[in-house]
């Protein structure tokens, strides 16, 4: 069955198909339609879940954590300021090793107030121990949420995860979304039955004090789990593909990258635009490709380095900025590529902050900039600033 759904409603349907049990909710634009839709499902008795109308996103995550300790499958959704408010508890959720899944609609941070897409909210949470998967379209939002429950609840993972979609570009745009039969989802994703859940018979303490002689091991195990997740994401996707016929490339997906001189690395909805631009430039004989970063955490360093290995130049489209340094994907990619022989020149293109459109024309100019190559050793450019050249180079030898 296909339905025409916004990204938000696709997320809500995926949560229902995943049979989430406890869903603390709090509204924030542009995520609100997710929790409205989930409330309607429950109100119309087509979905057996406990919704808790909490009084903040902070409490939403706190309630998810306690519910998950009891062994319930949990979900919440947020965006921007709401995600930042959760920060403390995001770290708590991963530290407590709880498989909470969240839909995160990436949106700019205030001030100035702006409800449009921007990745700073997500990037600012990269060290919290959450698996972070960016989605390119509404079908991917739907499929990713189901796959994330499967991933997060695996014994060797047991970490929380967020499925990320761009504000409005996905959250409020209607696309056809394929819905599987519930039985097929149930077969793929059995009910959650953790080995350790709070119970009276064997009283346990969850999260007590540990001294310096024990703390590091807990952290080390989170990293081991994140590394397991990097292995499991492609495996789960293979399984998903066999059952449902769709896949998204695992951690990263190259599109026409094999013989490309120039590769643009992007994430989220901009990847679709980049695919279109790559096709039209290929028609003109230009050897360009796009590489989609699906997983930001775990960061697919080796896959990326391998994909860009033969290119002469690589551009990174960063939809956020770490002030005083550069874009996050750029920084991490450059760190991953450092010391590898023949690693290409990498340039950062800061684009689309606060919902500014990343149009085919803009991406075409970026590809051209990469194909020409800069004489000066600039590494970072801001794209599309009003009153400035379209590609405004900063830093380097400028």
């Amino acid at each position: 069955m296909k339905k025409v759904l916004s990204g938000n409603h696709a997320a809500a349907y995926a949560v229902r198909f995943s049979r989430a049990q406890v869903i603390p909710i709090y509204p924030i634009t542009p995520q609100t339609c997710i929790v409205e839709q989930l409330s309607r499902f429950v109100a119309n008795d087509v979905f057996d879940a406990r919704i808790i109308d909490v009084e903040s996103e902070h409490s939403a995550m706190a309630a998810c954590i306690s519910a998950s300790v009891v062994g319930a499958r949990t979900f919440t959704a947020t965006s921007s300021q709401g995600l930042s408010l959760m920060h403390e508890l995001l770290i708590w959720a991963s530290g407590a090793r709880l498989p909470i899944v969240m839909a995160e609609v990436s949106r700019a941070m205030a001030p100035p107030w702006n409800v449009w897409t921007d990745h700073l909210d997500v990037i600012a949470e990269r060290d919290t121990g959450w698996i972070q998967l960016f989605c390119e379209n509404n079908q991917e939002v739907f499929d990713t949420i189901i796959m994330l429950y499967k991933l997060c609840e695996m014994e060797e993972v047991m970490l929380p995860a967020m499925a990320i979609m761009d504000a409005f570009i996905l959250s409020h745009t209607l696309e056809p979304v394929s819905m599987p039969d519930q039985q097929l989802v149930d077969a793929f994703l059995p009910s959650y039955a953790p080995d350790i859940a709070i119970q009276q018979e064997i009283p346990m303490v969850y999260g007590s004090v540990v001294k310096p002689d024990q703390y590091m091991e807990f952290r080390y195990k989170i990293d081991q789990a994140m590394r397991s997740a990097a292995k499991k994401i492609p495996e789960i996707e293979e399984d998903f593909k066999r059952r449902f016929g769709r896949s998204y490339g695992g951690l990263v997906e190259g599109y026409r990258c094999e013989d490309a001189d120039v590769i643009l690395i992007a994430n989220g909805s901009a990847v679709s635009t980049a695919r279109y631009v790559v096709n039209s430039l290929r028609d003109q004989g230009k050897k360009v490709g796009v590489c989609k970063i699906r997983a930001f955490r775990p960061f697919p360093a080796n896959n990326l380095v391998e994909l860009i290995g033969n290119a002469a130049a690589v551009g990174v489209l960063d939809r956020s900025y770490s002030f005083g340094h550069g874009g996050a994907i750029f920084s991490e990619l450059r760190g991953a590529a450092y010391g590898r022989t023949g690693s290409p020149k990498i340039k950062d293109y800061i684009s689309g902050l606060g919902g500014r459109d990343i149009t085919p024309e803009v991406l075409k100019k970026i590809f051209e900039d990469l194909l020409v190559g800069s004489k000066k050793d600039t590494e970072i450019a801001w794209v599309g600033l009003v009153g400035e050249p379209l590609i405004k180079n900063i830093g380097g030898d400028e």
Binding site: V22, S56, V70, I198, Q199, Y206, G207, V209
Partner: protein
């Protein structure tokens, strides 16, 4: 066989990390005596996050989930929802938080839990300051008390503001049951816990818990001081069931000086200070008595 007036069950084991004479230790002990088994505790940052001991040991018999400082109200909501959907209905969920974790940083999530009628008992053990971090002022610290952040000094900057009235804040949420208890009155404490257990929805218990290091009194005086707080009407014991007030310990109405002069945190008080406190305590006692005379029916 002599008849014990308290249940025999001990939910707190000996050898925990509580200070000598810790009032909060007794509060937990009486709470668990009142509730018996089938309890889940949610405990935020507070003394009781440390008292049970280091991983992997615990001095508590019920299962415990530790939660972030400001999240007890949300945590008990998550616990209840998860137990509900898993079909477990015979567990009493208890949020057990200090006065800072309740009246300050945790007030929002507690208010949310109360407004939603979360089916759980919330105990605020009140040692009248941030004691786990070493005696800093909270909104529950009484007027004129010394703490490390109201140190007096040359300018005489002791706590200037009144103690926040958590009972009235919770009663205003129209919860089914709110009660004040003191570790100096174990029978009253346990009876109220048992009454709370019989109710549905969010039940609130305000437990006065003297803190020898913070209040600056000898660890042997905890019970005496916990009793004097009630005898002087500084901390009246009462309960509100569905809107019906009952004062459960009338107290002798001893001069507040009897209570204040036994604690180092009030050692700087002048006679004028004590007179001022006496006036306020008398007025508050009159207000409570008048309210109790009027609010004699269960109205919600």
């Amino acid at each position: 066989m002599p008849q014990l007036s308290l249940p025999e069950y001990e939910g707190v084991t000996p050898g925990n990390l509580g200070c000598p004479g810790c009032g909060a230790n007794l509060a937990m002990r009486y709470l668990l005596k009142g509730l018996g088994k089938r309890v889940i505790l949610s405990i935020p940052a507070c003394c009781w996050a440390v008292i049970p001991g280091y991983f992997p040991n615990t001095a508590l018999k019920p299962p415990v989930i530790y939660t972030a400082f400001e999240t007890t109200g949300a945590s008990i909501a998550g616990l209840r929802a998860a137990l509900d959907i898993r079909g477990i209905s015979d567990m009493t969920i208890v949020g057990f938080a200090g006065d800072g974790g309740t009246a300050d940083i945790g007030l929002q999530s507690l208010s949310g839990a109360a407004e939603r009628g979360t089916d759980a008992i919330y105990v605020m053990y009140d040692n009248e300051a941030y004691m786990n971090t070493g005696i800093q002022r909270s909104s529950s610290t009484p007027r004129k008390a010394w703490t490390t952040t109201t140190p007096g000094g040359k300018c005489g900057l002791w706590k200037r503001e009144a103690k926040k009235n958590m009972m009235q804040i919770m009663i205003a949420h129209r919860i089914p049951y709110a009660a004040s208890v003191s570790v100096g009155y174990p029978e009253d404490f346990i009876q109220k816990v048992q009454q709370a257990k019989r109710e549905k929805g969010l039940r609130f218990i305000h437990a006065l818990s003297p803190c020898p290091p913070g209040w600056r009194h000898d660890s042997s005086k905890t019970i005496e001081i916990a009793k004097l707080a009630v005898e002087t009407h500084i901390f009246p014991l009462f309960e509100v069931r569905h809107g019906r007030y009952s004062i459960t310990e009338k107290g002798k109405g001893l001069p507040v000086e009897e209570y204040l002069r036994r604690q180092g945190r009030f050692s700087h008080l002048t006679n004028e200070d004590i007179e001022e406190i006496q006036e306020i305590v008398d007025r508050n006692w009159e207000i409570l008595k008048k309210t109790a005379r009027v609010m004699v029916e269960e109205i919600y």
